[in-house]
């Protein structure tokens, strides 16, 4: 039998506001335990939450970017459960009236087509603290620095059919959030986390199978592998005539497998009810209009513009807009007078190569558009040849070095002086009468050899065009 995998995603995104969602403590990552805390985020008695206006703004912006319906009168609710990372023993979240419903995000599938993933809802909530076990005292320490950092949770419909689609969605989502400037989406710092709901069913069936929820997925790689593993596990169970149990499973990176988490003693009965400490949020047309106007140009719009204005191929525009910082880098380079296609080629070729090799994201690189533009300009002007330029690029990439200074210091400037090239050509011809004979006899290979000799004499800094021209002229005269 052929099986179909059905996947839904719950993605938690930490918003990059300066302060926490309900108090004015910093959201800065790191810090000694419990030093980014106050009585409010520590859940001390008598303290009250007051909503950070930026959190609402960011959530609405994401909602607009995901083409969702913004709930005009939204509320916070309390989700009640006991765990030491949650000092109030309830999380302020949204259940009954989440800020966004019915959105969508279009992804590109492997086959090159498009697929729309439906967003069920997006809601605002607070992050929990961190628990670290201390083996020396055999006690667990509660650190509330992350407690109260604003999160949005984005819940999709079960629209994915493969791990590739999930990764494509996450990449697109991350790019969108970065374009909006609402999150830095660093998985290693936990600012983008996701839970995967997965079930399998016979291909063609309309019914959903029993699903499991996977947690502890800290990288795209882990997500892809866990999906593959879990789908296989469920299919094997069913084929053996056993049942899939609805449960939460934990992905173990080292063992490359998922394991059922110890079921909590109580059923998941969170006793949600409207948060009495926070008055309703009423979202007016003016507010929405202002945020719509402030929305930055997202990837799709930029792709269309690059195609229309600069005639770039679709593939190029996709690559260039895959990261906001990359697109901005590209546009800035073009603004400095670089021909768009040249800029695109350099960015897709050399810039992405180095980013990947250095494990960097575009927004973290030191290289400035001015430096790249100058480098391309030197090539255009015939002062550097392409290969030398790549050498220069690699030298200046890491700390945005001075291209001109580097070229000068290392004597890399291309020789275009026809007189100098001509005299070297004469010298080479005089030393290689055999090659001249071969050339005259129609052996084109000999021409290549002579070019090589000239280039060697000129230490590779000659303009190939000038060398070719000078050599042909002399040979024809002979």
């Amino acid at each position: 039998m052929t099986w179909e995998t059905v996947i839904g995603l719950e993605t938690h995104v930490e918003l990059s506001t300066k302060t926490k969602i309900f108090c004015s403590c910093t959201t800065e990552f790191g810090g000694a335990p419990n030093t980014h805390c106050c009585p409010v985020c520590m859940g001390m008695p008598g303290t009250l939450p007051v909503v950070n206006e930026k959190v609402l703004e960011y959530a609405v912006k994401v909602g607009l970017a995901l083409d969702g319906e913004i709930t005009r009168s939204c509320r916070f609710d309390r989700k009640n459960y006991f765990y030491p990372d949650l000092p109030k023993a309830y999380q302020i979240s949204q259940l009954y009236l989440p800020i966004v419903r019915n959105g969508r995000l279009t992804i590109r599938t492997e086959s090159g087509g498009e697929k729309t993933i439906r967003i069920h809802e997006l809601h605002m909530e607070e992050d929990a603290g961190k628990l670290v076990h201390d083996p020396w005292i055999d006690q667990t320490r509660c650190d509330y620095n992350r407690c109260g950092v604003p999160l949005i949770e984005i819940v999709t419909e079960p629209d994915f059919r493969s791990g590739e689609e999930v990764i494509a969605y996450l990449e697109k989502l991350r790019s969108t959030l970065q374009y909006l400037g609402v999150s830095d989406c660093k998985m290693q710092e936990g600012s983008l986390r996701c839970d995967v709901n997965l079930s399998v069913r016979p291909a063609g069936s309309a019914e959903l199978g029993t699903r499991t929820e996977m947690k502890n997925l800290n990288s795209f790689k882990a997500i892809a592998r866990s999906i593959e593993y879990e789908a296989r596990r469920q299919i094997e169970l069913i084929e053996e005539g056993r049942r899939v149990v609805q449960e939460t499973r934990r992905w173990d990176e080292n063992k490359d497998a998922t394991f059922a988490m110890r079921s909590k003693e109580n059923a998941q009965d969170y006793r949600y009810f409207p948060e009495p400490d926070i008055p309703p949020l009423e979202i007016g047309e003016d507010y929405l209009e202002r945020l719509r106007k402030e929305q930055p140009e997202l990837a799709e719009a930029r792709m269309a513009r690059y195609q229309a204005d600069w005639g770039l191929p679709v593939y190029d525009t996709q690559m260039l807009t895959s990261q906001k910082a990359l697109a901005e880098f590209f546009e800035a380079t073009v603004a400095l007078g670089t021909p768009p296609k040249q800029a695109a080629n350099w960015i897709m070729g050399e810039v992405l190569r180095r980013l990947s090799a250095d494990g960097l994201e575009a927004k973290d690189m030191a290289l400035t558009p001015r430096t790249l533009a100058r480098l391309i300009e030197l090539v255009q002007e015939g002062k550097l040849n392409r290969n030398t330029a790549v050498r220069v690029f690699d030298a200046v990439f890491a700390d945005d070095g001075d291209v001109d200074a580097y070229v000068k210091e290392h004597g890399l400037e291309q020789v275009s002086d026809a007189g100098l090239v001509g005299s070297v050509v004469d010298k080479v011809l005089a030393a290689n009468p055999k090659s001249i004979q071969d050339f005259k006899a129609g052996k084109e290979k000999a021409f290549g050899f002579l070019v090589g000799q000239v280039m060697r004499e000129l230490k590779g800094q000659a303009s190939p065009q000038v060398v070719h021209q000078a050599l042909r002229e002399r040979l024809e005269q002979l």
Partner: protein, 493 residues
């Protein structure tokens, strides 16, 4: 007349004029507390004399430097022990909070401090403000100064008893379902629960967040007005707080009631109401009438739904609010636990008293899967209808007048055996919390045993000026509020 028999404003006036110094006033309070504490147990924590006198000396210095503080500068006062005080133990009269010492002040406490209030200590209450008698305190029951064998009411029993016994000139209580008004009534003092949101709740340890409100207890309505003015206002730390826009409350106490329309909900004067209480409240209506008010009975059938609605909502919120007391971050932790769950369960089971556990279980139940709609959601719908019924009543009337409680103060131990019966006795006070309305309890007579009776004036949202002016007018023509139990208790025996 002894200094402790003056009202807070009268004492404040003496201090402003330099006739009495804040340290003198503080010393009188310290002496009164020393004399009464063993008898009525009004305080959970008394600040030591040195600390109190140092505060008074500080106010004295500020006044001498010409600082404009407030009409109540230098007047000694006390706070219910569910109001956080920086550096002063705050217990909620519960074992589970242990010696919890907040690193912050409640906004109301901070405002009173700024206004020159001199804090004497923290007042006893029912554990976590859940009760109607102040008997569920981990620190022992408070006794009614009018009869030490009787309850002072609750949950702000310590506040009402301390004011009645002349241990402080005013006190701050909290009122979730009548916890200021009912003890004020039982102890013969004046108590005001203001409009929801008019006083910041920051630092008030929550019982039921949508119903809790801080307010003053004092001898007179004008004292209550003066204290409320000092505490009220929008607070950036409480998203549900608001600017009431009253202007000066004390200035609005003219005593003029001409043209005032007062409604008497007939459903508050029927079955279950003690006859002596009924007669006293109705005679209060006559006093208002004599001052020019028009009094009229009307029907308010929503009364039969108010108690269940209140207890569902209050218990639900309480079950969530009290979850943070788990022996991890502050307060008391049980010994000999095996693991995390055991730590939680032992700490909470041994740390909370029976009434608190009853309400936590009730609240957890009404929110649990399968019961939310039938109980909690239903209660929120009925709440909307109750609010609507009041809105309609206030189209016809400026104020409503009702009893505060069906009876006068019960004997100690009489109420705890039957929780439902105790809940039912809150009938006249709880609907105001559901609708967020201001209500004031004022002494309006005594029963045959010499126990005080209270009448409740209810106003529309933010109608404090009307409520206080009517009470002030009543107090201009009566002297129930100037009666003191001190020295009388012996005669009654």
């Amino acid at each position: 007349m002894e200094l402790w028999e003056f009202t807070a404003l009268e004492l404040g006036g003496l201090i402003q004029r330099g006739e009495v110094s804040p340290t003198q006033a503080a010393q009188v309070a310290l002496d009164r507390m020393a004399a009464e504490q063993d008898r009525n147990n009004a305080f959970v924590t008394r600040l030591d004399g040195e600390t109190v006198l140092a505060q008074a000396a500080e106010v004295e210095k500020r006044l001498a430097a010409g600082e404009k503080l407030s009409p109540l500068a230098g007047v000694p006062m006390a706070l219910k022990d569910n109001i956080c005080t920086k550096g002063v133990r705050t217990t909620c009269a519960s074992k589970i909070l242990g010696d919890f010492t907040p690193p912050y002040d409640a906004t109301a406490a901070e405002k009173l401090k700024t206004a020159g209030g001199v804090l004497l200590g923290k007042l006893n209450l029912d554990e976590f403000a859940m009760g109607s008698t102040s008997e569920t305190s981990y620190y022992g029951p408070t006794r009614n100064p009018w009869d030490l064998d009787r309850a002072p009411g609750g949950s702000s029993g310590g506040a009402a008893a301390a004011v009645a016994a002349g241990e402080c000139w005013y006190a701050i209580g909290s009122d979730t379902g009548g916890s200021i008004r009912q003890p004020a009534s039982y102890c013969g003092v004046t108590g005001l629960k203001p409009t929801y949101g008019s006083v910041s709740r920051y630092g008030l340890i929550a019982y039921a967040s949508s119903l809790d409100q801080l307010g003053p207890l004092a001898r007179s309505a004008d004292d209550c007005a003066a204290v409320l003015e000092l505490m009220a206002g929008k607070d950036r730390r409480d998203g549900t707080s608001l600017d009431a826009g009253w202007g000066s409350l004390t200035a609005s106490l003219t005593g003029d009631l001409r043209g005032l329309r007062v409604g008497l909900p007939s459903d508050c004067f029927g079955e279950g109401l003690d006859q002596e209480v009924r007669a006293a409240v109705l005679s209060a209506a006559d006093v208002l009438k004599a001052r020019g008010a028009a009094v009229e009975e009307f029907s308010f059938p929503m009364m039969k739904y108010v108690v269940p609605t209140y207890y569902i909502i209050a218990a639900a919120e309480a079950s969530s609010n009290l979850s943070r007391f788990d022996g991890v971050k502050y307060g008391w932790r049980a010994a000999d636990y095996e693991d995390l769950t055991d730590l939680y369960e032992k700490t909470r089971t041994q740390g909370f008293g029976a009434e608190v556990k009853r309400r936590i279980l009730l609240g957890t139940f009404v929110l649990s899967a399968g019961y939310y709609d039938a109980y909690y959601k239903k209660a929120l719908q009925v709440k909307a209808l109750i609010k609507k019924a009041y809105d309609e009543a206030f189209e016809k009337y400026d104020l409503l007048l009702t009893p505060v409680a069906p009876t006068t103060a019960p004997r100690l131990g009489e109420s705890l055996g039957d929780p439902l019966k105790m809940y039912l006795s809150d009938i006249y006070t709880v609907p105001l919390n559901l609708a967020g309305l201001p209500g004031l309890s004022m002494p309006c007579g005594f029963d045959g045993q010499g126990l005080p009776i209270g009448a409740q004036l209810i106003g529309p949202a933010l109608g404090e000026a009307k409520v206080l002016n009517a009470a002030h007018a009543f107090q201009l023509d009566t002297d129930y509020h100037r009666q003191s139990p001190v020295g009388k208790e012996a005669q009654a025996k």
